[in-house]
Structures are given as C-alpha cells and as structure tokens.
C-alpha cells in the first residue's frame, strides 16, 4: 500500500464525511464547513496523485491546481459567510419589528 494511496483513501473518506453532513444538515454555517472539508478531501487526492516517492520531486501541476483551488475556496467561503451575515441582519430586523 503506497503512501500516496493511503492519503488518497484519507481524502476519499473526507469527501464521504463531508457529503454525508452536507445532505443532512440545515444549519448554514455547518454547510460552509462541510464544503470546506469536501474541498480538503479533493485537495488531498490531488496532492497524493502528485506524490512520487520520498526522493523524486513531486509533480508541480497538481500543486498549482490545489493552490488555485484553495484561493477560490476561501473567496467563495467569504461570499457565503457575507450572505449569511446579511441574511441574519435582515431576519433579525424582522424579529425586532414583529
């Protein structure tokens, strides 16, 4: 069982845990964290695919994909969290009015 395959299975388990929670939860914050865990699983798969033994240098192309993926993920998470905060403000102002 090569090291890369071990970490790939770890990544796949992360994806499984994230999908399971994503489908079941209704809480918005939990859903954001679940999507981040899902992306971490995909990133682990990519990095494990890039691993080529302790001596050989790893394949830089998947590393570039994951780097781009991390920045895209943090920006989409920021957008989702801003929407959640704004939605909370609107609903809180409705609570006070009624």
């Amino acid at each position: 069982m090569s090291t890369a395959l071990l970490y790939s299975f770890g990544g796949i388990l992360l994806i499984g845990v994230a999908l399971h929670r994503l489908v079941l939860t209704t809480d918005l914050l939990r859903r954001v964290v679940a999507l981040n865990v899902f992306a971490a699983g995909i990133a682990s798969l990519l990095i494990a695919a890039a691993y080529r033994g302790p001596e050989a240098a790893a394949d830089p192309v998947p590393h570039a994909f994951v780097l781009t993926g991390i920045v895209v993920l943090v920006s989409t998470t920021a957008a989702a969290l801003a929407l959640i905060r704004r939605l909370d403000d609107l609903e809180r102002s409705v609570d006070h009015d009624t």
Binding site: I42, A49, V61, L83, L90
Partner: protein
C-alpha cells in the same frame, strides 16, 4: 503576431489575438465600472458593444479560415493553456454579447437614476449591476473559449459568483435566501467537477481537451471522471432533479438579472456538458439514455409546476427547467445515425431559448411594473388592455412553444429530425408531449391578458409606447427572426464541428 494561420483578410484587426481580447476586455471594463460607479452605465454598454464587435469579427474570421487556436503564454498545449475557437464557441460568443447588449439597454432604462428620491437599494442596483454583468460576460467568454478542463472549472466559478451577485442584487431577504441556496448548489457542483478533473489528471496526466479527446478507450477512471463532471454540471445547469435552486433564484431576482440568469448563465454549464459529451469522451449509450430520461422528467415536472404556480415569474422560471430538459434530450441521440442534426437542433434550441427567455423575463418585469403585482389569479381582473410588453411575452411564447417560423421551431425541428432518423420514437414522443405541455402553461398568462369578461370597471387603454418596452420586443423579434435567417448561424456552427471534420490535433 502569434496566432494560428495567416488569414486572407488584410485589415489590421484580422491579425489581432481576438480570443484573448474577448476575455480581457470585459474584465478591465468590470474593474473600471467598479472603480467609477457614476460612469458604470457608459462603461457597461460600451464594453458590451466592443465585445459584440470583436466576437462578430472573430466569427467572420472563422467562416473565412476555420477553427483557431491561440496558445497562451506561447506554450504548446499539454504544458500551457490554449483558447480554441470553433463554430459552436463563436456562435455562443456572438449570442451572449448580443443578448447581453439588449438586456443591458433594458437595465440601463429600468434602473434609470430617479435623482434624489432614489432609495439606497435602487442606487445599489444601478451601480453594482454593471460590474457584475461584465464579470459574467468575461466568465462566459472564458468558458466558451477554454480548451482546458481545469480552466473551465475556474471560469465556472467566476460565472457562478457573478450570477449569485445578480441574484441577490435586489437585497430583499427572499432574494438573499435564494441566492445563498444557489451559491451552495453552485459550489457543490464546482467541487464535483473539480473531483472529476482530479480523476482525469490522476488517470491520464492531461487536462487539455485535445489530448483527452485523443484517448478512445473508456477506462473506469475516465468514466468515473465523466460521471462526476456531468453531475457537477447538471447541478449548475439545473437539470431535473437537481433544479431545486433555480425557481427561487430566478424569480426573486430583478427583471434584467433574472433575464441574464435564465438566458445565459445556465447555458454555460450546458455548453461544457455538450462539449465534453461530443468532442472529448466516447460515452456509453446507457449514460446518454439516463440523461435523456432526466430531461424527459424535467419537461414533465417543470411543465406541471408551471401550471400550478400563481406567480408569473415563477412560471417563467419553471419553463426554464422544462426547456433545459428538452435540450438535454440530445445526450441520448448524439451517437445515433441522426446525431449531427440532433446536435445542431440542441445548439439552436440553446440560442432560441436564450433570446426568448430573456424577452419573456423582461416583458414580465414591465408587466409587473404596470400592474404592481405578477399574480396570475388577479391578472384576469385587471382592467388594462394588453400593451407592448404583453405582445413581447406572446412572441417569446411562440418561440418557446416552437411554432414556425421561430428559432425555437427550427431547433425542435432539427432535434425531432435527428430523433426520427435514429428511430428513437420514445424521444419523439417526449418532445411532442413537451410541446403540448408548454402550450398549456404558456396560455395561462396569455389568456389572462386577453380576457376582460370578469373585469368590473371600464377597460382602460395602455399608456403610449414606452421606450422600456422596446427591448423585450426587440429580443422577442430576434427569437422569431433567427428562425428565418438560420443560414449563417448554421454554417458558422459547421465550422470545426466535431461531426464534420475529423478532430485534427494542432
């Protein structure tokens, strides 16, 4: 000048690297529109016009000298990224710019500054619509030109984010809740697509479409990658049963925003799915039939929901779900005998739906402004005679149903012909059923416009022709005219089409 092959045309513009300009121009304009809010309208319309001109020049160049490749950074394909322009891409570029221009003009009219009395919400809509639209245009152009799977993933993200921005533009709680659901669905779709890209790279070490297309035998990893990518794209294009986010997001947005969402945004992921299905992979027939069945389900479910809802905007949103299902029937027909005709029919339906649906959403926006509400129930008791907006709605309905001579008719005709040639009578039956169902739910509003028997007071004439009604009318006329003037678009579509010319890897 580095670009693919010398052109017979002499003017200077013909040697520019148009593919990258068509993506970069709206990007720079988006930043400019964000920096100078007061000049946003001018920048927005000007940039859209420029992009339209560049796309048409690119299409003309394509008709003259065939598909083009622009190697970015000067690196050859497996290492670098290449922007590939073939007929299908050029057709989508021109349509996106054209429809965007008309919707932009309608938006600049309906968002017109009302001076000091403008509430902060209207002001925000007026200012932020333009950077979002230009980002959407850049995302779509990047998507249509990209020939690299990971590059498509990032373009889908830009597309998704600017679409969410447009959906929440009105700032109301309902729009925000729908926008948030749309963002989560879009993010899940993109991550599934990225998982597919990951499996592709792990198995083949390539991410560009040309090398992936050259692989002919479907290993388990390739078919898993295809299934994952199609699942992600199905969420983003709202194919039944993954359409849960679309009705709320499209009906709660402002009129110009929902026009852009329904007409252009869902088409982006549909385009990628079609390109993967036809150009790149050699998928099994079973998967095609499954997608076809999902499409049939979308037609039935979308039409039934459209007949039950009371709000006009919700009806139009559900009709998008049904029309996407209709277009997705092509997945079951591509590797049959009539594959190419069916494919041309599906592409033409994409264009027809884009023009007709944007006209319909803009018309519904105008009608809601006149009547103050968009409930079908109270429509029958409105004493107002139908005006230009209702005419635009009816014309758009003609194209959606597929009555001659509209573009919708031509698209459906080609799709039907492709299905009949392949003796796929199930899909022919589904299409005929879909047409009848669309007549049923589209007649609900139209009958509401024309019936005055239940009106108590005197029936009043509509106000004189308002400039804002021109744009929905213009789009509806485009939807009809494209049926008559189909020669050029179809010949453009044939340039570099995967069916005609054997895929030559440059």
């Amino acid at each position: 000048m580095i670009w693919s092959d010398p052109s017979t045309m002499t003017p200077e513009i013909m040697t520019w690297d148009l593919p990258s300009l068509v993506v970069i121009l709206p990007l720079l304009a988006a930043v400019a529109a964000f920096l100078l809010p007061s000049a946003a309208v001018g920048i927005g319309l000007g940039a859209t016009a420029l992009v339209g001109a560049a796309s048409s020049a690119l299409a003309a160049r394509l008709l003259a000298s065939g598909p083009e490749i622009s190697h970015l950074g000067g690196w050859t394909v497996p290492l670098g990224i290449a922007l590939r322009v073939d007929g299908f891409a050029a057709l989508m570029l021109v349509t996106t710019a054209g429809i965007g221009m008309l919707v932009g003009l309608a938006a600049s009219r309906s968002f017109a500054a009302k001076g000091a009395t403008e509430a902060p919400a209207e002001e925000r809509q007026r200012l932020f619509f333009w950077p979002l639209w230009l980002l959407l245009l850049a995302g779509l152009n990047a998507l249509y030109l990209s020939s690299d799977v990971f590059n498509i993933y990032i373009s889908l993200e830009i597309l998704g984010l600017s679409a969410v921005g447009l959906a929440v533009l009105s700032g109301k709680a309902a729009a925000l809740r729908a926008g948030l659901t749309y963002l989560f669905a879009g993010l899940l779709g993109s991550l599934l697509f990225l998982l597919g890209v990951d499996y592709l790279y792990a198995a083949t070490g390539r991410v560009d479409l040309a090398s992936l297309g050259a692989i002919d035998e479907m290993t388990p990893a390739l078919s898993m990658a295809l299934v994952l990518m199609l699942a992600g794209l199905a969420i983003k294009t709202a194919l039944f049963p993954l359409h849960f986010w679309l009705p709320a997001a499209h009906s709660n947005a402002t009129a110009p925003a929902s026009a852009l969402l329904s007409a252009l945004v869902v088409k982006g992921s549909l385009y990628v799915a079609l390109r993967l299905w036809v150009d790149v992979f050699a998928p099994t027939a079973g998967l095609g039939t499954l997608i076809g069945l999902l499409g049939a389900g979308a037609i039935v479910w979308g039409s039934i929901q459209a007949m039950r809802v009371d709000r006009l905007k919700l009806l139009v949103a559900y009709s998008t779900v049904a029309q996407i299902g209709l277009i997705c029937l092509v997945f079951a027909l591509t590797d049959e005998i009539g594959g190419e005709t069916a494919w041309q029919g599906a592409v033409y339906l994409i264009l027809a739906h884009a023009a007709a649906k944007s006209a319909m959403f803009l018309a519904v926006g105008r009608i809601a402004e006149h009547l103050g509400h968009d409930s079908l129930e109270r429509l029958h008791r409105e004493p107002l005679r139908p005006g230009m907006a209702q005419v635009a709605f009816a014309l758009a309905a003609v194209s959606l149903i597929g009555l001659p001579p509209s573009a919708g008719f031509l698209g459906k005709w080609l799709l039907l012909e492709g299905a009949m040639r392949a003796d796929a009578w199930l899909w022919v039956g589904v299409m005929v059923l879909g047409t009848m169902l669309s007549v049923a739910y589209l007649m609900r509003p139209i009958s509401g416009f024309l019936r005055f028997d239940r009106v108590e007071g005197p029936v009043i004439m509509p106000s004189r022709l308002d400039a804002a009604d021109l744009w929905p009318l213009g789009l509806a006329v485009v939807a009809i005219a494209m049926g008559l003037l189909a020669a050029t678009p179809l010949s453009l579509l044939a340039v570099g089409s995967p069916f005609v010319v054997p895929e030559v890897v440059p």
